[in-house]
Amino acid sequence: MSNADLAEMVRPDRALTPLYTDADIFTEEMERIFKNTWVWVAHSSDIASPNSFKTSHVGLEQVIVTRDKEGKIHTLLNRCRHRAASVCEKRQGKASVFVCPYHGWSYEPNGRLRKVPHKAGYPAEFDSVEYGLVSLRTEEYNGLIFATFKQDIEPLVDYLGPARKWIDLFMKQGGGYPVKALGEHRFRFPGNWKIQLENTTDAYHFPIVHKTFLDSLDAESENVFDVLGQGGWVEDLGNGHSVMVMIPDLIDLEENLDAPIPQRFMDLAKELAEEGYPDDQVRKIVRAVGGAGFNLNLFPNVACSMAFFRVLRPIKVDETEITHVAIGMDGGPAAANRMRLRLHEHFQGPMGFGTPDDAEGWERVQRGARSGQDLWIMLNRGVDAPEGCAEPGHNAGDVSAETGMRAAYQMWKRMMTA
């Protein structure tokens, strides 16, 4: 498919259906997007100590994210340089060496080839230095670790640009403690990855798809989750990133600490007070425990979504894996982290009150998109953002505007036709 053909498939306010269904486009996306930009691979708390690791993916490529004994982070292709066996099949753990199970080549956490058994069988000029695990460029911003195959790409901080402000705000839900990954829900849906990418900036579906979640809340919380009715907005942050603010009152979790404690957090506040936490700290923790009032969508594969990280992993043109990472307060009160876990379970995961309905909706999109390859996916929804909300100069729309999706598809077009 030529660049001109691809360019024609994305217009400012719409995208053509084969973007969900064409296997050749998917193959091109894996090359031109996922091997060409910063892709989220781990949270720093996943590899908190020296010689710890976590396996992850950059598009279709399997990687090991490691912290070496000096504390430096590496992202290594999970493929032996001898005859290709995977060198690590654990999800997470500690290792000071990765030994390939096939012929025993061993690698250090920084990727260097340490030892080759029966080395005498190789010619004298065999140079171990040439056979380290393939190492991706890796950078971190405020706990978020990204890797890229593109060695000469701009620094991560530049790629994130104005999104950094929102990452910093998001991390305030540590309530004064560092943010820590507490566990993961993984699930797959039979649909294209961009359906999920869109969804993180889709407030429009919330009252309909998540009606049963809303019905399960107390009246006060139900008002908090009235996401269309609080003067929120969607803002294009450049490079395909966007933020959707649903609950403006919960943008900065360190503000408004004198406000009355919501009903559903009363018991927790009481418990923390009884444990001896001073009032100002109780208020800070309790305000942080429910998460932030916005979704930050980072192109192409991660979102900081209210109270968790949502990571997408393309599998096939019509299959996507989603990981919802529950997060909490590293070293914070156990009662607060327990509450965060129960809140996460309430909405997220394969049997949460929200996720299965999202997954079903996305599957229905993919099923519908089998018909009408010549029809457009419409992304033209939106009116002006409320006055004075968005950063001057940023394109923005009201909370249910499809501004964030348009931003992502313009980035898609830029990368796919570069």
Partner: protein, 168 residues
């Protein structure tokens, strides 16, 4: 005047294996038929319904689970599944399940059992199999046997699932 129940006397009334398995089969049948209203009163007041994301653990409250329900959450879950407004459960996948390979574990006033559960689910042209180890604690109350604990550990609980719009 209150009569204190002697725990030794209470334990005399532990359900037998035959009673417990018949009860568990009846529960399985109820779940396949989506008879969730009848299912709720099968539980003790403090009963816990847990579907973990890790194998080989016994502390569930400080970990992330797929389900960790007390009575209130179970009732909310049933309300949601029967509401007709949840697109993943209106209708849900059809299911047919068997529970078998019972092993008696403990008798501590109730009967704790380990069993295998195989669920076949069908929706949208496709069949999926969900296999799980299940641990039940069954106790006898005045109005019959009750589930005091049910932990459904999927064989692939630490890997990806698909949306599940019914009860396991």
């Amino acid at each position: 005047m209150t009569i204190m129940m002697d725990p030794d006397i209470a334990s005399i009334d532990v359900p037998t294996l035959a009673e417990a398995t018949a009860f568990i089969w009846a529960e399985a049948d109820m779940l396949d038929r989506l008879d969730y209203k009848q299912w709720l009163p099968l539980w003790t007041e403090n009963g816990r319904y847990i579907i973990p994301t890790e194998r080989g653990i016994d502390d569930y409250d400080d970990r992330l689970n797929i389900v960790n329900d007390n009575a209130e959450m179970r009732a909310a879950r049933v309300k949601r599944l029967l509401s007709g407004f949840s697109m993943s459960s209106a209708p849900p996948a059809r299911t047919v399940r068997t529970v078998s390979r019972f092993v008696q574990l403990a008798d501590d006033g109730g009967l704790t059992l380990r069993a295998a559960q195989i669920v076949a689910e069908y929706k949208y042209e496709r069949m999926r199999i969900l296999a799980a180890d299940v641990v039940y604690r069954i106790v006898r109350e005045d109005d019959g046997l009750k589930i005091d604990r049910k932990v459904v550990t999927l064989v692939n609980c630490d890997d990806y699932q698909h949306g599940i719009g019914y009860l396991l």
